[in-house]
């Protein structure tokens, strides 16, 4: 029975794969072309890089909710019970030196990515990832200890960036819509949001590694 | 909202509000609860009195509230509704008095009286329902409100009885629901109209209409304990005596019988039922139930069980009366709705007294009970004689009209059924009376709980209600021709139902 179900599922999946391939190979061109719309409105978006414009202006609301998803994942960890911290003293002797050298460079890279996001590939998410990686490196080098589950600092940092985003979204309701930037201030708003976000996201991502149950 | 809309609501509220209040009362506040109960019962009787006078004068009392598009909650007080309303309102007062005495030291009285009042609320709703939708709402509410009463004692037998009761009534409810929605779908509405829905039903496939009729009658037939849907009633007698009174006389089986009346007269219309060819089968089923119930009663040693089978038989008199085409049978059926209630409640009160005072539960333990408890036994005898149709009692009036109705409808076999049933009634009641009055008393009673004080054989509150209802059994028989007697009222209803038929 079990084996039968298994083979049936594999058959069904194969059929699905075939149908999907067939479907995309015969697809007529799409009637709506958003790339053109993005290009047409890029000038008033506050940034010159189209992906950033979509991410933080045209579809900024998606990004807003997505930050909440990241926080929820962290909350889920807290709810389920944090893993214990790794045993200390097993680090590679070279790690602290490496970390001390690399971390400043990584921070620099993050700032660059954040700044670059306005007009070329990069932005808050990539910057946050680099920052988080720096924090993890510090942690592995045992320079930065694990965060206990009631640590205030990381929580404040995570909440702060998101609350800033929320405050801007709410304040802009005066313009008649969530996150509806006035064109002349769009750039400033986006920079503000992205700076807040990169810290918030970085701490959030780092917390996946650093937030550990207190040693029993 | 004017007074004519308000009055039906007030009748509902006069037991619904006390029910909700009683639920919140702590167990110890006996006085407050008693006061509330009596206040509610008396208020209701006064309200019903006002309605009686108004309806007789041709006043219309109706309340309408839209629940869904095209579906209204309707309370409509017509003569038929009032027949049932006043029966229940009056008997409720006595049952309440009786229950207060009966449950004097029992636990969980707040819960009991809460559901008790809720039961009566449901009965009022059933009586005053202006369409099948409303009828169904209160019909199911009655099921729900009686279940906690049936299982009130919490014993394994009570649990079993309650479960069987639920199984029957919930399935019955489901059938009824299916019938009602189907009818609503076919006819567009389910309002009760004198003479039936008429045109709304014409042009519909008769087979479908027969099926719907079957569903509807089966649905209400469960509560009316029509054979073969009667199985729950003998099981439910494990409930405390006031609850049995409620089930057998005031509320549950009456709700079923009343439903049959509404469906036959005011949904399909008696003439249309005749045309569909389902009137005769209904009469036959009723006749079978009458005989079957009486036969089974004959073999029960448990007193309450014997009474339960007797109820099965007697309630179908109402159905039989309804199924006899012509006003005489209708009058017989309707008047029996009231008369059976008064007589049967007397019997259950008395059975409760025997059980509470002396611990008598079985017919075989009845020897000499008449000497120890003469008043109760007297009341019991009157009730039993009434059931047999002895002259000057309520039973005689109903049976006379039913027989006339059968003759008028050309269904002479029904007369034989009635006669046979009367003989059977005598066969299962007379031995009880004989034992109670003429056999010597045993040395000790099974379980004597209440000692006699002078001529007062048991507690006040247990004694008065059966005495009153026994008196009423004779009263409605002797004064059957008085202005507000049940008979006069049944005649009024029949006149109005058949006027719309042009008879």
């Amino acid at each position: 029975m079990k084996r039968f179900v298994r083979w049936l599922s594999i058959l069904a999946l194969t059929v699905l794969a075939g149908a999907l391939l067939l479907a995309i190979s015969s697809l007529p061109p799409a009637p709506v072309k958003l790339a053109g719309e993005v290009a047409a409105n890029l000038a008033v978006s506050g940034v010159s890089h189209p992906v950033t414009a979509v991410l933080l202006n045209f579809r900024g609301y998606d990004t807003f909710l997505e930050v909440a998803v990241l926080i929820i994942a962290l909350l889920g960890m807290l709810a389920a019970g944090l893993p214990p911290p790794p045993p200390t003293g097993s680090r590679n002797a070279m790690l602290p030196t490496l970390a001390r050298l690399a971390v400043p460079l990584m921070v620099l890279a993050a700032v660059y990515l954040l700044w670059a996001g306005a007009f070329r590939p990069g932005g808050a998410f990539q910057a946050a990832a680099v920052l988080a990686a720096a924090a993890v490196l510090l942690h592995l080098a045992e320079i930065q200890g694990p965060w206990p589950d009631n640590a205030r600092g990381p929580r404040l940092a995570i909440a702060g960036g998101f609350l800033l985003f929320l405050a801007i979204a709410a304040a802009l309701l005066v313009n008649g819509g969530l996150l509806r930037y006035p064109p002349e201030q769009a750039g400033l708003n986006i920079v503000l949001i992205e700076s807040g976000l990169s810290v918030s996201l970085a701490v959030n991502l780092a917390a996946f590694f650093l937030l550990r149950a207190p040693k029993s | 909202m004017n007074l004519n809309e308000l009055l039906p609501l007030a009748v509902i509220a006069s037991s619904l509000v006390p029910a909700l209040l009683i639920f919140t009362l702590p167990e110890e506040s006996v006085r407050l609860r008693t006061a509330l109960n009596l206040f509610a019962a008396i208020t209701k009787i006064i309200l019903v009195g006002a309605l009686l006078i108004g309806v007789r004068g041709g006043e219309d009392y109706a309340f309408r509230h839209t629940v869904l598009p095209g579906m209204d909650l309707v309370f409509k007080v017509d003569a038929l509704a009032l027949l049932f309303v006043s029966l229940s309102a009056v008997l409720w007062l006595f049952t309440t008095l009786y229950a207060i005495g009966y449950l004097e030291h029992a636990p969980n009285r707040s819960r009991f009286f809460g559901f008790f009042s809720l039961c009566v609320t449901a009965t009022m709703g059933i009586a005053m329902a202006g369409n099948l939708f409303t009828f169904f709402i209160f019909y199911e509410l009655l099921t729900l409100a009686t279940f906690p009463l049936v299982v009130h004692r919490g014993t394994p037998q009570a649990m079993r009885g309650g479960t069987i009761y639920l199984a029957y009534t919930l399935v019955g409810g489901a059938l009824l629901l299916a019938g009602i929605v189907w009818l609503h779908h076919l006819a567009g509405h389910t309002e009760f109209v004198q003479g039936g829905l008429g045109n709304a039903l014409h042009g519909i496939n008769p087979t479908i209409l027969q099926a719907v009729f079957l569903l509807l009658i089966a649905g209400v037939g469960v509560k009316a304990a029509i054979v073969p849907l009667h199985g729950w009633l003998p099981q439910a007698m494990v409930a405390p005596a006031p609850v049995s009174a409620l089930l057998h006389a005031v509320a549950v089986v009456k709700a079923g019988a009343f439903g049959v009346v509404r469906i036959v007269y005011e949904i399909y219309g008696i003439e249309f039922v005749q045309t569909l060819g389902v009137l005769l089968p209904l009469a036959v089923i009723a006749a079978i139930t009458i005989l079957w119930g009486s036969l089974r009663a004959l073999f029960q040693d448990d007193l309450k069980k014997r009474l339960a089978y007797s109820t099965i038989s007697q309630v179908s008199y109402i159905v039989l009366g309804v199924a006899l085409f012509g006003p005489l049978g209708t009058i017989g059926g309707l008047v029996h709705l009231v008369h059976q209630g008064i007589m049967k409640i007397t019997l259950f009160f008395c059975a409760g007294n025997f059980a509470e005072t002396l611990g008598i539960h079985k017919v075989s333990e009845m020897d000499g009970a008449g000497r120890r408890m003469p008043l109760t036994t007297l009341a019991f005898s009157i009730g039993a004689l009434g059931m047999m149709g002895a002259p000057l009692t309520a039973g005689a009036v109903s049976k006379a009209w039913l027989s006339d109705g059968a003759a008028a409808a050309g269904m002479d076999w029904a007369i034989w059924v009635l006669t046979a049933s009367s003989l059977l009634n005598a066969a299962y009641f007379l031995p009880i009376l004989y034992r109670a009055w003429f056999r010597p008393a045993p040395d000790s009673w099974p379980h004597e709980e209440i000692a006699a004080r002078g001529w007062r054989e048991t507690a006040w509150l247990l004694l008065l209600p059966p005495l009153f209802t026994a008196t009423a059994t004779i009263g409605v028989g002797i004064f059957a021709d008085a202005a507000f007697s049940p008979l006069a009222w049944a005649q009024l209803i029949a006149r109005r139902e058949y006027v719309s038929l042009g008879q």
């Binding site: 149908a19 479907a23 015969s26 697809l27 007529p28 799409a30 009637p31 709506v32 958003l34 719309e37 409105n41 202006n57 045209f58 579809r59 900024g60 609301y61 998606d62 909710l65 909440a68 926080i71 929820i72 994942a73 909350l75 889920g76 709810a79 389920a80 589950d149 909440a159 709410a170 304040a171 309701l173 313009n175 008649g176 969530l178 996150l179 930037y181 | 639920f23 839209t66 629940v67 869904l68 598009p69 579906m71 636990p107 969980n108 819960r111 169904f136 709402i137 509410l141 729900l144 299982v151 919490g154 309650g162 479960t163 639920l166 919930l170 409810g173 489901a174 629901l177 929605v181 779908h185």
Partner: protein, 482 residues
């Protein structure tokens, strides 16, 4: 109107705000933030419903960009009903939870609850398929977090199974969105409603299939229900209530929206498709009821009842004929079940808390020492059985009526049979409650806090009263276009 007080926007912002604050603040402030926030949200939902009732549907351009470039939020009668239900039930549950968790709150409970509600509100208000994906994840992950709360092995197992199911569900949904975007170049639901027609390419059919199936998985429709009983039966009572009453409805809502909106042309072109969800719904009713009848633990019984009750929601799909009956039946069922199931779960929570036993048998004697809670349980049961007067009854009535109207008598039969099966499992509990227990003679068990009993009763009473005052809800739905 004052733009900054736009109730639609605040329904999303408020819960996010208090959830984030609860994340930073200590547990002591969690309940206060939640209650204050939810009172505000309830107000917003009422205002929004008022607006919808007078203006029809209301749009809100996030970022000020019109479709297809931007995301358009919108509210019509359907969303208004869901929003009202969500805020109302959540408020009662939060009040209950505050007392229920008075000794120890599971970690992150308040903040997760806030994010969960935010996610649902965002879902009810979104008109953009990709944005809806994000809200789905928001709801799904927050719900998983709540299930995991407490961290016992049973909770973790339930959470893991739930997580995998919800991730596969949203994964399939996302893949469908990708195909849709590839086919039309937009993910705006309203635009797609105009673009998609019966001659749509295969990719669109596949997309619809994947998205709808993914949502069925998240809604736990039979046979995708396997994750629900452990998750809903194992979580703390307020969480179970939140999940059973509201969370599964969110993905159902989306299913319904897609069915009636973007994919309407597809489902109308192939009417037999509608039989599939109905057939699964019927199976769900039978299977879920059967499992509830033989469940050993009280909360598992209630969870299986949810499996069965979800089935009713899917019976409506073949019945969208010319009239509005099917939609009314579906939404009444959503509302009535939401209220009743929340009441039942928290009543069960109180019963379990007092008796100390999670088994159905633990209810014995509750009629004596926990009358209010038991009464709430019974009223909720009345609505679940579809007995009058209750919202569940009206839903069943409309469903049967619609079934007869559209000539699908078997659906009417299933609805009636399902009510009887529900009667068995509800009365299985109720009759036990009346059983006299030996424990009665001993010291009475401790009485729970009043708020635990009365919140359950309030929710149950609401599900009953819905059976008498359903017209406002029906009127709200009148403006919902197919």
């Amino acid at each position: 109107m004052n733009l900054i007080l736009d109730p639609l926007a605040w329904l999303i912002l408020l819960p996010l705000l208090w959830a984030t604050l609860a994340f930073v603040a200590t547990d002591r402030y969690g309940p206060r933030l939640a209650i204050a926030g939810l009172v505000g949200q309830l107000l917003c939902a009422a205002m929004l419903a008022q607006d919808v009732a007078s203006h029809g549907s209301i749009g809100h351009l996030a970022g000020g960009w019109a479709e297809p470039l931007g995301i358009r939020l919108f509210a019509d009668g359907l969303s208004a009903v869901m929003l009202l239900l969500t805020q109302g039930v959540a408020l009662a549950l939060v009040l209950y939870a505050r007392s229920y968790f008075s000794q120890a709150t599971p970690p992150a409970f308040w903040t997760l609850t806030g994010f969960l509600i935010a996610g649902m509100n965002a879902l009810f208000l979104s008109g953009d398929l990709f944005n809806l994906y994000v809200t789905l994840e928001l709801v799904g992950l927050a719900a998983v977090g709540l299930v995991a709360a407490g961290g016992g092995a049973a909770q973790i197992a339930a959470a893991l199974r739930y997580l995998l199911a919800t991730l596969v569900g949203s994964g399939a949904y996302l893949f469908g969105v990708a195909l849709i975007y590839g086919s039309y170049g937009t993910v705006s639901a309203s635009l797609l409603g105009q673009l998609i027609n019966a001659e749509a390419p295969i990719a669109v059919w596949l997309a619809a299939g994947l998205m709808l199936t993914g949502l069925l998985l998240k809604t736990a429709l039979f046979p995708f229900h396997f994750w629900l009983p452990p998750a809903h039966g194992g979580a703390p009572a307020p969480v179970s209530a939140l999940l059973s009453a509201l969370v599964v409805k969110a993905s159902f809502y989306l299913f319904l929206r897609l069915w009636l909106g973007p994919f309407a042309a597809l489902t109308e072109a192939q009417p037999w498709l509608a039989q599939l969800p109905a057939a699964l719904g019927a199976s769900a009713i039978l299977w879920g009821s059967w499992q509830a009848i033989r469940a050993d633990r009280l909360k598992v019984l209630i969870a299986y009842s949810t499996v069965a009750q979800i089935g009713y929601l899917f019976l409506i799909f073949p019945l969208f004929g010319t009239g509005a009956l099917a939609l009314q039946a579906g939404i009444l069922q959503v509302t009535a079940h939401g209220l009743a199931k929340a009441a039942m779960f928290i009543a069960a929570g109180t019963l379990i808390k007092v008796s100390g036993s999670e088994r159905v048998l633990g209810v014995a004697g509750a009629a004596v020492h926990l009358p209010v809670t038991l009464f709430a349980f019974a009223l909720a049961g009345v609505s679940l059985m579809g007995l009058p007067p209750s919202g569940g009854f009206l839903a069943k009535w409309l469903l049967i009526d619609a079934a007869l109207d559209q000539g699908h008598e078997w659906i009417a039969g299933i609805a009636i049979a399902g009510g009887l099966l529900a009667g068995i499992y509800v009365f299985r509990v109720l009759r036990l409650a009346f059983r006299v227990t030996i424990a009665d003679d001993e010291a009475a068990p401790l009485r729970p806090a009043a708020v635990l009993e009365w919140t359950a009763l309030a929710l149950a009473a609401a599900s009953i009263l819905l059976g008498l005052f359903a017209m406002p809800l029906i009127n709200l739905l009148a403006g919902v276009t197919r």
